[in-house]
Symmetry: C2
Amino acid sequence: MHDINLEDGDILAKQKELAKKNEDKLNQHGVNAVNVMGAIGSGKTALIVAIYEKIKDNYRMGAVAGDVAGTDDYDRFEVAGIEAYNLNTHSDCHLDAHLVDHSLESMPLDDLDLLFVENVGNLVCPADFPLGTDREVVVISVTEGEDMVRKHPKIFSQTDIVAINKVDLAEAIDVDPEVPKKDYEEINPHGRAIFTNATEARGIDELVEALELDSI
Amino acid sequence: MHDINLEDGDILAKQKELAKKNEDKLNQHGVNAVNVMGAIGSGKTALIVAIYEKIKDNYRMGAVAGDVAGTDDYDRFEVAGIEAYNLNTHSDCHLDAHLVDHSLESMPLDDLDLLFVENVGNLVCPADFPLGTDREVVVISVTEGEDMVRKHPKIFSQTDIVAINKVDLAEAIDVDPEVPKKDYEEINPHGRAIFTNATEARGIDELVEALELDSI
């Protein structure tokens, strides 16, 4: 079981405390970390791999593959040559700071400069759980429909970089990618929305720049 | 806040009790109910509308639009002429039996034969919360990738009808819809996977038949 309603400040405080511990640990090892959230199939893994291809000579990069079950994303990271850790939540719809700490314990942090933490695929639960990363990115696919931002205001209001992915499919499915972009900019005026297509490396330079990383 | 880990049999028992109450209430009013689950953008609303078009002369049909926020799906049901109720969960990643009971209280159950309950868009949380419906359907979109069943074994193992939607896009995005179909049939040998495309009404007759409904 999981996912019980609790308006419980103590639990949020505990999560923040655990997240702070991760942040301190990552800082001690000089690792810059990014929490990548988004629905299933939005293209999180493919975008992380595309970023890796742009920066791999400048950073020693690792990735945590968060999923309810299976090793599909972990396998993709491995194939791409990324130092990866598979993190299955079993029934949970999000990572939390404690789970991430487990993966940090198993990764060679001293050999890394940069760590992408790919969250479990949905736009609801990950919004409430800080992990101790330096940055957050939300990936949405145009195939999810024009209304995905309006349906999930919380996660978009607190995330400063949004990749609107698979833009090459927008016309075929009659979705205007400007709609979620506009909705996002209304919810989060300081945020930056970037049109991407991981398979053709479209928008990846912009994404790398928004993350303040240096391309090759 | 929401979504706290609790291996708590009491909570599951309570949810089952509330679901049983809904079931009894629906039965008293002669309403057949279907819980429709699936990720955001999988096409749940469009499929429900496509089913409605096939059966509307035979059944008085209603729909509950479950979403974290907004009225996008509710508006679509209204435009299609379906008696609809908007059910926002605010921060919850699923409907539960208590929330559904609220919507039942507001709907004209005596004027309905059939009720579709569209759950919040993700494949993790709704799996754990029985609503008291007679049937469950999971909708997946081929755009979510070939691995969506492997990543969410729980929901597929307990759901007997799966619509693999947007099959018209499969070739363009290089996804083989036979892969999730095969994964599903392995996890759930009694289940039925149906290839659908809501916008062209492909597979809707099969879906109607699987739900044991009569087409026009």
